[in-house]
Symmetry: C2
């Protein structure tokens, strides 16, 4: 397991407790690193850089083996406890209310990458403390690096975050975060500002409204897959990023046409991920189902001039 | 002026007072009938059924003459005062705060259509009291009829509204209204419910998130034109409907491909309308500008399979 994968993600592997209007589960596998890697694994071999404790069982770990995810950079801390998050969603399902966060083994996490991992061409910095993101970014001699973040870091670690933003090729964040980060209520203006800070690309995740993509001089946007019921939105953003980066790494190209398709694959993966708790739906997803939904995106956005 | 136009709209013609974060105007031509007809006039000859008072000056009326809008069913009440609306927008620009409404001549409006108007093939019932909408609908022997409504009628005239909904081919309403009308937080479920009440089509206007289109078994959605500044959102929905219905009437077809293009034309007209106060931008819009933006919609939604 020491070979270089085409794609690497650093992020959390967590044990979540989740409550939605449709049900609850007190032990649900989660975390940005987990949701991202499960999603990306449908497109390419992906490695995950993260930390877990002894409470992360062999059965829990089987999700990585099933999906042939490289865990040679997944550190297990003897006697440690895995990162825990408890959250609740109301009927609008757009924002989670955090009930509890326990950093546990994540509190002292210092990612140490294997030599093989340091040569990964496509890197994703999942939503973790921006200084940690930058430490990983600096260890990898990559071709393309993208990052996520969240309101917490925008609010308490803005300076560090801006330093990380300056050294990535793409940001993949949600709508409200893009506006908050830029201090602009208009998303187009916010995008222009963020791109001015360094990234060549900005992908904005808009939940039920789809996704938008900005570069200095291009724009692309698609609606979301029309779901009649969203069961558990946890991990939607990470499975989007996993599909997006997984497809880019598989294609080994980052031109405009490839990026547009990558956004559709990201949206497809997110749409499946929210249909059930944790990554349950992705664990039994088939490549044919991915192709079907990708083609449906074409059908419901196409018009003849 | 007694010939039958391909398209007829019943709606308000108003004198608005508008305040936005970017400026204010205490006498701004508005109303659903006015915004709709100005927009539709770029596609086909359109007639407007409405009522005005003596305070609607010859200079005000010139907007109809400039755009060759048929006003043979525009009633002027001697000694009457035109419908007035005063509203204010905050920075989000999505919802107007109504400061004042004076029905004036609109309070006793009983639309009496000319014999020519009664043969109009395409009819739009702008946002007015649902009983009035139905009275107009019943007078016209049309091929295709669409309607708008608003939260006020959903809340105070629900039964009347449902009767009107049952006798139209299409509803064109905004996102929040669709959810409120159906009592469903999920838009896909809301759409299914509304279509179950009679209309074959539902077009949902989503402001900065674009538009979605539903029939019993098809779905189409597009993002909005990416505007860096929205100056005055008043009339966006009516200019959308005007572009949509204007293009359908011009094409004299209502198949899926034509409806999809009609949604792009509607979005194009709305995107121009919000760039300035009232319909100032549309009054100097050119057919080439409409074509340009229509093609841009293709560019920013297209992807290769």
């Amino acid at each position: 397991m020491s070979s270089t994968c085409p794609l690497l993600v650093v992020g959390s592997v967590a044990i979540d407790a989740i409550k939605t209007p449709f049900g609850e589960r007190d032990r649900s596998l989660g975390g940005s690193g987990l949701h991202f890697s499960v999603s990306a694994s449908f497109f390419t071999e992906v490695g995950v850089v993260a930390v877990i404790g002894d409470d992360f069982t062999a059965e829990d770990e089987s999700v990585f083996h099933e999906r042939k995810i490289n865990i040679s950079n997944l550190e297990r801390i003897p006697g440690g406890k895995t990162f825990r998050w408890a959250g609740e969603y109301g009927f609008d399902l757009n924002t989670a209310k955090t009930l509890d966060t326990q950093l546990n083994v994540f509190a002292d996490f210092k990612p140490k990458l294997s030599e093989a991992a340091k040569k990964t061409p496509f890197l994703f910095l999942g939503n973790i403390q921006p200084t940690l993101q930058r430490e990983v970014r600096e260890q990898v001699d990559c071709k393309f690096v993208a990052m996520d973040t969240m309101n917490l870091w925008i609010e308490i670690a803005r300076e560090e975050l801006l330093k990380t933003i300056a050294v990535v090729d793409a940001m993949i964040i949600n709508d409200a975060e893009a506006r908050e980060l830029a201090g602009e209520s208009n998303l187009i203006k916010a995008a222009r500002k963020i791109i001015g800070w360094g990234p060549k690309m900005l992908v904005v995740k808009r939940g039920e409204y789809g996704a938008a993509f900005f570069t200095k001089d291009s724009y692309f946007a698609i609606p979301a897959y029309p779901l009649e019921s969203v069961f558990d939105p946890t991990g939607a953003g990470d499975s989007f990023a996993g599909g997006f980066m997984g497809y880019l790494a598989q294609s080994d190209k980052i031109d405009d046409a490839t990026v547009r398709r990558a956004i559709i694959y990201g949206s497809t993966m997110a749409s499946y991920n929210v249909e059930e708790f944790s990554c349950d739906r992705l664990r039994r997803l088939t490549p044919q189902e991915i192709r079907d939904r990708f083609h449906q995106f074409k059908e419901f956005t196409h018009f003849e001039i």
